[in-house]
Amino acid sequence: MSAPQKRLEVVGRSRRRVDARAKVLGQLRFADDLVLPRMLHAKLLRSPHPHAVIESLDASRARSHPGVHLVLTGRDFPVPFGIMPVSQDEYPLAPERVRYVGDPVAAVIARDEQTAGEALELIEVKYRALPTIATPEEALAHPETRIHDYGEQGNIHRNQAYEFGDVEDALANADHVFEDLFFYEGNTHLPMEQQASLAAIDGEGKLLLSSSTQNPHYLHRQLAQVLQIPAAQIRVIACPNGGGFGGKCDPGGHEFVVCKAALLLGRPVKIGLTRQEVFYVHRGRHPVLMKLRTGVSRDGRLTAMHLQTLLDGGAYGSHGPASTFYTGVLTPVTYELPRFKFEACRVFTNKPACGPKRGHGTPQPRFGQEVQLDKIAEKLRLDPAKLRLNMVTKPGSLTASWLRVGTTGLAECIRKAVEISGWKAKHRKLPPGRGVGIACSTYMCGAGVSIYWNKMPHSGVQLLVDRSGQVTVFCGSTEIGQGSDDVLAAIVAEVLGVDTGVVRCVTGDTGLTPVDLGSYSSRVTIMMGNAAMQAAERMREQIAGSVCETLGTTPERVAFSQGRVFAAEDPGKGMSFAEAVAITEAKLGTLSTVGSYTPPKPPGKYKGGGVGPSPAYSFSACVVAVEVDEKTGWIHVPKIWIAHDIGRAINPVLARGQVIGGVYMGLGEALMEEQVFRRLPPKLSAALVHRIPSMLDYKSLTALDMPEVEVALIEDPDPNCPFGAKEVGQGPLLPVMPAVANAIYDAVGVRIDELPITPDKVLAALELKAQGKTPRIGPARFPEVPYPKPMFVLPPWEGGDGNESKMPRPLGVAAS
């Protein structure tokens, strides 16, 4: 329907977010705030061994401990789970094998947490220790110590290879080939809220789970599978999350445990994980070793890239198959890259499982590529900002790998970041010890395919209005602190011309709301938003059609603005929104509309081409200033400038908050965050433990460490997105780490090719520099990885059609 063009009234204006009041007043109820009558408490016994067979488990003493109601073990859970259909490799409680220190093996349900904790100590478990794998190198070298008996081979979980155009040929013909190794240490999400779950049986005997989860829909499916009860008998409520960042995407063992216990006992059962357990549940950033071989022309254009990655996956599959893809697939989206090959391998190790963390798999290769570009610019004596600006991908273009770029504000982001940071006056011009660095990035606005294969919508919205003038919007989307409820309310309010204050959001409840796939892959604003827009437009149409007669105009000329409905040509003639609804309700009966959204089909048709396509991509450019003390290597970051192409900011103050939050997390990853493990002298101990599973010792920035961040939002509305709005939840994190590394080079002339960048590494590099050696700290070698033969796909400009095709030269004959 061609509604009269009106100025945007809600969208684009900074507002207090809809859930702010409850948050500030402490009224919002997180999962751990929930209390039910007769509620019991669960606690998990976790393995102290990194890799062992459970020989026996005797829980009899725990069962007879006063106050204990139930003890569950692996035997109670015969069916495995896993977020991805191809990696069903985990049990709520390990039945016979433990694979990392922290793997849950038993659960006690007792009258209170203290009693449950006491009873855990009474469970006797006999373990037979197995050899352990601590690193990807060990995983590759010791296929005989198999952590899982599925996967590609040995300890290789996933192994992927793609080649878009003949890369060796292009590299052989390039003016320069740059070869670099990078390492990105793993790190974790560190949400403020530790996971908590409460399971209860409702009056009809159905299971109700309230949980801190980002993906109630996937959790719902997995509960049905593991508990072997019909999904219709289960309701999952995603409580507002106190931060997620990807850490609450996988179903957690504890969620199955409380459900099973509630079913068996008929009483509510709650669990709250300790901070240490959150480090064990993990699913955070994969440690990734990378090798980049990049061909460059004399004038600074990329001709080809060969990217190899090796991911340390930890003990379970988790989102691993997707993570593996993501260490490659988004690489060609930022700059024109005629040919691209990427090989990626994920291995199992005896550590908590890695998974999706903000940026999912893409920050690592982005770090490598953006630091390498800095080296290229230096070698070719080009300004690194200009080098990038000259080769940004064109709007609407395809990449060599058949991703459709859509709108792009990257060029504008670079210009803006250069401008506000005073880049030209600073880069290579500051006194020794001070420097600036630039880097860019892109991210998806939602994954183009669902985690399990299906043809249904990715997001559904239902709208109810009634004569009171209230608007209730139902959607399965999940508020994890990012502000998705606010976006939902704003979009509906804008279309219906009302204030967000009359819109009530009911979200994240599989018993009440239409399916939305969840808060991951930066999909919510665009997918939920498009579905909401459709539902709201349908509602507006019904109302317009019903009141136009009264207003003496045609439906197309009915305007909705500021809580009023009126004739566009005669704004004085009109009525309140509530009156308009009443007239419509009288004419049409009870009013409800629905909307749904399914992403467009991707242009790439080759197998595996489903990972990477997105309805739109966001872009960012970031400049970081650093001060490095040449005597100590101490790093100080006084200021960061970032420009982010958001398409359109629905609520600018919220969008800025997301950008700054992303920068905050990125800076922490750049400078200190690391999820690292410790072995003891092997003669004395087989331990393999998390070094620092606590908030105090796992270092992330405090408020005092945060520099001023100047944010520029670049608004170039994308037609695939609601009101043109792209994502902002993940993208702005991505350019920060390489920009820091590049700034350090500008300041003191040393390359730190691994994260985090700590003062001791800077000092070590400065010492190398003083000795006349290559001033670089970073990985020295890339191990032999048995990558498979790549799938060959011709790029669009070489006559490809998006399908797998024949390699133009005989395979195995390397170009010289």
Binding site: T632, H636, R691, L704, D705
Partner: protein, 338 residues
């Protein structure tokens, strides 16, 4: 969440009463002041006292007295300590150390006495029971081996108090009271270089007071190395105090390092006497201090690097004493001016 073990709780109102309870209860009792160190430790099952004797109700421990010098009650919270009039001007190192302990919230609870008696720290030890079980414990608690140095006969856990080095540099003494009597000792004498028996305090003694001499021409400075501007324990503390003649010649000086040993490490600084704080002299003392520091791989950051920067940090402190404007460096290191 992590839960506390069971314990009895006593809340005496006077030092005498507290001392009596301690004497009566014997080794099963422990004092608790702000609890910011002890309670997390109890949750991790480091200490499991049967009885906690709280000194929070003991008004006498909150006393501040000016006379010949300054007497500070051990029960003052660090926030209250920082509010003591003239502290910054007269005993700058103490103010700078106290202001950099933990976070504002913890300083509102944590006390001076608790800070001086703070348990030593180690990344193999400051972990919960289950974690420690996964490494089969260590010598300091429940186990045999020291994982930091498996050949070591003693525990090498780190003295991590910020105020102790500052107070020792300022020449502080402390008063210890028990049912049997009281004694006053130099603060440096309270400590010994053993990660387990790090205090020479007897289990029934209460630290009641800290006594500072008149500043009498002494200046002081405290610098702290930690990863972040807030929250973190020291990886290195440098406390320096000196009495300077009008022309800048050092008449007497004290230099104490924190967090590089199991006790505050007093560095011999006689070499300073009679000399001026020139760059060369500062470098010389810095190197001497650096060679004494023995950081271990049981706290945050790379240990060689931590040793390497000792001379730099000693330099910051001495330059501040000399009167250099160190505020830009302060901001880069501490993220705040203290």
């Amino acid at each position: 969440m992590m839960r506390l073990p069971w314990f009895d709780y006593r809340a005496p109102r006077s030092v005498e009463e507290a001392a009596k309870i301690l004497a009566w209860e014997g080794n099963g009792a422990m004092l608790i002041a702000g609890g910011t160190d002890l309670l997390p430790n109890m949750k991790r099952r480091h200490q499991m006292p049967q009885t906690l004797v709280s000194v929070r109700q003991v008004e006498a421990l909150k006393k501040i007295a000016n006379g010949s010098g300054l007497r500070l009650g051990a029960g003052l919270t660090l926030t209250e300590l920082l509010a003591v009039r003239g502290l910054r001007e007269r005993y700058r190192a103490l103010a700078q150390a106290a202001a950099q302990v933990a976070t504002p919230q913890l300083r509102n609870m944590g006390t001076l006495g608790g800070n001086l008696c703070l348990d030593t720290r180690c990344t193999y030890y400051n972990q919960n029971y289950e974690w420690r079980k996964a490494i089969d414990f260590c010598m300091k608690k429940d186990g045999e081996v020291c994982w930091v140095a498996t050949a070591s006969k003693r525990c090498l856990a780190v003295s991590s108090t910020d105020t102790a080095p500052a107070l020792i540099a300022l020449g502080a003494r402390v008063k210890l009271v028990s049912a049997a009597g009281e004694r006053e000792i130099a603060l440096a004498e309270l400590y010994q270089n053993d990660g387990i028996d790090y205090l020479k305090r007897k289990p029934d003694e209460i630290l009641t007071e800290v006594l500072l001499p008149q500043p009498d021409g002494w200046r002081s400075s405290y610098w702290k190395l930690r990863r972040r501007g807030s929250f973190d324990f020291p990886l290195l503390g440098v406390a320096a105090a000196a009495k300077l003649a009008a022309d800048g010649t050092v008449e007497a000086a004290r230099l104490v390092l924190g967090a590089v040993s199991s006790h505050p490490l007093v560095i011999k600084s006689d070499a300073l006497a009679g000399r001026k704080l020139t760059d060369d002299v500062i470098a010389e003392i810095g190197e001497a201090a650096q060679s004494r520091a023995k950081p271990m791989d049981n706290t945050d950051m790379d240990l060689r690097w931590r040793k390497h920067v000792v001379a730099d940090f000693v330099g910051y402190a001495l330059r501040e004493l000399r009167g250099d404007d160190m505020s830009a460096m302060r901001l880069r290191i501490a993220k705040q001016l203290v």
